[in-house]
């Protein structure tokens, strides 16, 4: 009897040990639909990044909407995959976001992703995996003869030692999109759509990728924006950018979309 109990005990601890090393999946719940798009999912998103920061899979569910009303601080990540299958929505209230940015003396990125071996992968469905920043109203608010209003956040800093960004899709970014730091990063099939509905509302500073990293490859980028598609900054070494389409479609969004569809078919 004692030996039987012992065997069961050893078996149980073996199972526990196995579970603790298996990849963990953190699927993020959304309150978007139940709240008619008003609830903030930032706390749930932050929790998932904290819970799965070591060897985890962080999953935004396919086609699900998420509000991310607060910046995400996800540092010290190791061996993490981020599956961006949902659609994210930044705040549509400019003034509270501006207040947050202006209160900080440092640059604010909405997504702070830092660590080693980090892989961000967007949905294969062209309709999903978008980060919607609602930049149009920010562009509309450009002061006359100015180059963008004060208090604009940057979208993302991706500071990793080893990793990838695949199918990141940014719609109407407020300003700067993704800053790349670290090394050994593969960036592919990304879309930045910073096309303004109005000629007089120019999307200032909507750089797609700012590179300050080593050993970076960018392929199949589609960037229609109001600043650099790729800006090579101090500390950029061994950067290869190829097979990309960049520019700005000044004849309306329909032609832009026709071109995007052509690029991806």
């Amino acid at each position: 009897m004692i030996s039987l109990l012992l065997t069961i005990g050893i078996g149980a601890s073996a199972v526990l040990a196995q579970n603790s090393t298996a990849p963990k999946t953190c699927t993020i719940p959304s309150k978007y639909e139940s709240s008619n798009g008003t609830a903030d999912d930032s706390p749930a998103i932050a929790s998932a990044f904290a819970e799965c920061k070591n060897g985890g899979n962080i999953v935004f569910e396919e086609g699900v909407d998420y509000n991310i009303f607060r910046p995400l601080l996800a540092e010290n990540l190791t061996d993490v995959t981020i599956s961006m299958n949902g659609n994210l929505h930044l705040p549509q209230d400019i003034e509270s976001t501006r207040a947050l940015i202006l209160a900080s003396s440092a640059t604010i990125w909405w997504f702070n992703i830092k660590g080693s071996n980090i892989h961000y992968t967007g949905s294969e469905n062209i309709n999903n995996g978008w980060i919607n920043s609602y930049g149009q109203q920010w562009w509309d608010a450009n002061p006359s003869n100015g180059t963008g209003i004060t208090g604009r956040p940057h979208l993302m800093v991706f500071n990793v030692q080893g990793g990838s960004i695949k199918r990141l899709k940014s719609r109407k970014p407020i300003a700067w999109n993704v800053q790349i730091k670290g090394s050994d990063i593969d960036i592919s099939d990304c879309i930045v759509d910073a096309v303004s509905d109005k000629w007089e509302s120019f999307p200032f500073n909507t750089d797609a990728f700012d590179i300050g990293a080593s050993n970076v490859r960018i392929t199949n980028l589609v960037a229609f924006n109001g600043d650099d598609a790729v800006a090579v900054n101090d500390g950029a070494h061994n950067l290869y950018v190829s097979d990309s389409t960049i520019g700005y479609q000044t004849h309306g969004t329909s032609q832009f979309w026709a071109m995007m569809v052509a690029c991806f078919n």
Partner: protein
């Protein structure tokens, strides 16, 4: 008003904004890029009084549509103006996909040092 803030494509910099810091960029290669609109396809931007080194930068097979495609520098003590001429007519632009574009055979490498 918008002339200086059009999309400028593939840019080195801007570099040297912090004058006390030595900016360093090396081994940058752009290949098979289609530029649909925008002011410049390729550009190197630096600040007056800045210091640094940019070495081994290559733009190859850059196709322009709408854009006045050329490389320009901004506030550089050493200036250069290379042309990557590959204009397409408007009709081609309307029906352009990356696959249809004919890559330029021109290649320019800059070694400012």
């Amino acid at each position: 008003m918008f002339q200086l803030t059009f999309p400028v494509g593939l840019s080195i910099g801007s570099l040297g904004k912090s004058q006390g810091k030595f900016a360093n960029v090396s081994n940058i290669h752009f290949d098979r890029i289609t530029v649909a609109g925008g002011l410049y396809a390729a550009r190197l931007k630096s600040w007056v009084g800045g210091q640094g080194l940019v070495e081994n930068v290559t733009w190859v097979s850059v196709i322009s549509c709408h854009a006045d495609i050329r490389m320009s520098t901004n506030n550089l003590t050493v200036s250069f103006d290379l042309s990557l001429e590959q204009h397409m007519d408007m009709e081609q632009c309307r029906h352009m996909t990356p696959e249809k574009g004919q890559p330029s055979t021109e290649k320019h490498t800059t070694n400012p040092d």
